[in-house]
Amino acid sequence: MAAFLADVVLQITRLSLQRCCKMQGLTACRSIHTQGAPLLFQTSNILSSEPMKRKKRDDPALAAARIARKKKNIEKLLKQKQRLGRILKPIEEIEGNFKLQQRAHELRRERTQLTFEESEERALLHKDWTRHRMHQFIDDMNAVHQFTNSQQKALKELREESEELYQQAIQIDNNSLLYEWHGPVSTPPIEGYDSPDGEYVDTTRQY
């Protein structure tokens, strides 16, 4: 009687079925259940969504038209790019000020009419100047030659005295490569003068 009751209880509490089966043996279990298939816990995934929709078939003609349109658009863009080239950042110094260009005619000075003597005088002054600069250049070159000769002589003498000292002398001096010097100016600097800073507005455009 007790064994029969236990079977009934098993039938009701299905969740503990498997454990019971294990306890009592599989044969006892099979003999009780009422379903056709063996009652076991489901291990596969549960599908909790509606079944997939069936894919709508496209009209092949329409699809081809769409692709053609896309292609045409790209081609158009390419053509435009080729026509314009790369768009570069404008350089103000080259392009100039548009507003100024427009009113350049009203900013023009009156042309000075030179007499023959005046233009002749100017030409002669230019020639004098050129001659003066040439002499200056020759003098400078001579001085530089004199200096380099003097240095070469010094290095040669140093080498005769000691090869080691010579090698030290021909090394690059990295400190004097950073050498900087300001001047000369037209009037000497005033000691302790605090120069006033001008006010300015930075109008540089950012690209």
Partner: protein, 268 residues
């Protein structure tokens, strides 16, 4: 009786004389192999320069050409905004004067007012004089003289018996490069408050002179010149010194020395 005695003495002495001579010769030969008395003594010297602070006075040709270039620049230029405004306003004023209009439309500030204002501001500033006190007093010890010229630092140094005006020089010490020696020489000649920057590791000039025969240790001196430019500071050592231009060097230096020095002092 006298004669043989004398002869004996002489022989005795001559023998000892010969001995000492041979000995001293041997001694010099030995010291020659150690010290080499025929060597030159190496000196590093520094040519410290103060570069021109202000520009040269323009020559007549330069000032004439400068004026011409400025004139041509103006002729080829366009009117500036200010000039255009000034031109318009003067034209307007002339027109107004003709019409004898009342001054209801008078502006607060005209371009010409700006010009007056600027001129006032300019006149308030007085630039420093190009001729300094040192020029007026002809103070050759001042570094502030002849601002438009390159100045060279010379010093009175004792070479042998006598004193000479030279670029500061000193003997190279053992384990010192020529450049390091030059830096040390400058420091000892000027004191430690002066700052100068040396230009390169290579010497820029050379000069040699022989010692008198009484000096047995060396033949003479080989002087290697290094260039340095003055950055800041004053001379604090007690030495007698001068700041002179290239032309003024003639008054101070020995001709042969001057010849070597003139080659590397450039005035460009």
């Amino acid at each position: 009786m006298f004669f043989p005695c004398c002869r004996r003495i002489f022989l005795k002495h001559s023998h000892s004389f010969e001995k000492t001579v041979r000995l001293s010769w041997l001694q010099t030969a030995a010291s020659a192999s150690n010290q080499n008395p025929r060597a030159w003594q190496l000196y590093s010297a520094v040519c410290l320069e103060r570069y021109p602070v202000i520009t040269n006075e323009l020559t007549p040709l330069e000032s004439k050409f400068k004026a011409l270039m400025q004139l041509m620049e103006k002729e080829n230029s366009l009117l500036s905004d200010h000039e255009k405004r000034l031109k318009d306003e003067t034209a307007q004023a002339a027109k107004k004067h003709d019409d004898d209009d009342d001054e209801t439309l008078r502006k607060t500030q005209y371009a010409i007012d700006f010009e007056d204002q600027w001129e006032n501001e300019y006149n308030q500033f007085t630039p420093a004089n190009r001729i300094t006190d040192a020029d007026i007093n002809n103070d050759t010890r001042s570094v502030n003289r002849k601002l438009d010229r390159k100045l060279i630092f010379i010093i009175k140094q004792k070479l042998g018996e006598k004193e000479f005006w030279v670029l500061p020089q000193g003997v190279r010490q053992e384990s010192e490069s020529m450049r390091q020696a030059a830096e040390r020489v400058l420091q000892s000649a000027s004191g430690d408050k002066l700052k100068a920057s040396f230009l390169g590791n290579a010497p820029c000039g050379f000069h040699k002179y022989k010692y008198p025969r009484s000096v047995s240790s060396h033949i003479g001196a080989k002087v290697f010149f290094y260039k340095a430019s003055l950055k800041s500071g004053d001379i604090t050592s007690g030495a007698d010194y001068r700041w002179v231009t290239k032309e003024e060097l003639k008054e101070y230096l020995v001709p042969s020395y001057l010849e070597a020095v003139e080659d590397f002092i450039l005035e460009l």
